[in-house]
Symmetry: C2
Subunit: 212 residues, 2 copies
């Protein structure tokens, strides 16, 4: 809980020092500069949400698995509890989502291993806006945010004289899929576009990971 | 109007010869193979919709201009009646859409000249699905469908460690913007994505035309 010792000055939006205490890391009773106005901290305890020492939850979309643990335990968890997820080796692979016309909200998940790291590829079909189904595709690193910044990924849909490409930095599984979808900070396309690129209800997404 | 001399056979979906008459071109009383079932022709006179000899309408989006004429007359019409549309020369230009946060349905239009042809660049903001505003960007050739097939275009949004790219064949102005948007056969992105790439409410789209 942040404790603010600065009296709020109406209209003052500058950073100020606040006495802040995090249960997960070493920020206990430390005076730190917060980049939000101090009187907003109670509604938005930003540090706790992004704290690197917060336990990792299971990165599988859908949130049916309640597992959480350390970063090192994530891959063993996935291999034991989510055996159905296939893994492909290499920087440049094809993520084949089958039966994209299945009704309702659907997730497709696979793992890609390269550069001595594991990446989770997620395609999610959902109605972010009522009555308008969309697909969201994103790459997560099984790693910290800082590690993720060393990589870039490219998702590519290839069709008949058409190509749609999204290039970005992988998300850390600490942020998760939901945050990327909420901000549309991923490859977003609707069902008409999916049909332009799908073949017999199957959609191939070319995924390329690179170091930067 | 197509006139069918083949008695419909229930369940028979094969192509058959039909006596077809088009007011715009030479297809008058010609027996041609239609690729739809003959008894569906009255509801969907496909040829007339796509006939290359149909007069061209003004390609400006919004449909407030009622002009129509021959293909050769389109550019003179644009230059005289739509003086506010700017033209940039070159295969690789930046289409700068200003004030993308303007409320309601908005169009941004400009011309690009290269390879001895004129291309119309259109960015349209509209609610294709109620309550969900989206942007649609497409390149049209001031020319026939056959001419358009000789070209490819690339639209690129560049942001902070993010890039969204759409590559396709330009549309002929004979098809128009509305058809591309209806099929999502264009660069489609929502307002959250626009904000990821916009700078101070202005969105720069890199447009590259190439011959193929
Ligand atoms: Zn902490
Ligand atoms: Zn799990
Ligand atoms: Zn005709
Ligand atoms: Zn006009």
């Amino acid at each position: 809980r942040p404790v603010c010792h600065t009296k709020p000055q109406p209209g003052n939006r500058e950073s100020v020092g606040c006495l802040y205490s995090c249960a997960q890391c070493s920020l206990g009773g430390v005076l730190i500069a917060m980049d939000t106005a101090p009187w907003a901290l109670d509604e938005k305890p930003e540090h706790e949400e992004v704290c690197e020492f917060r336990p990792y939850t299971c990165p599988c979309p859908g949130a049916t698995c309640k597992w959480h643990g350390s970063l090192e335990a994530v891959m063993p968890h996935l291999m034991h509890a989510h055996k159905s997820i296939t893994t492909l080796q290499g920087e440049d692979i094809v993520f084949l989502a089958t039966d994209i016309n299945l009704p309702g909200a659907v997730d497709w998940v696979m793992m890609q291993s390269c550069f001595s790291h594991h990446f989770m590829l997620v395609l999610e079909k959902q109605e972010k806006y009522e009555g308008h189904q969309q697909f969201f595709a994103v790459v997560l690193l099984i790693g910290t945010r800082k590690q993720a910044e060393n990589f870039a990924y490219r998702l590519e849909l290839n069709g008949n004289r058409r190509r749609l490409t999204w290039e970005a930095t992988p998300r850390s599984i600490h942020d998760g899929v939901a945050a990327a979808i909420l901000n549309s900070d991923c490859l977003v396309f609707d069902t008409s576009i999916a049909h332009l690129f799908a073949d017999n209800g199957n959609l191939g997404i070319n995924v390329t990971i690179s170091m930067c």
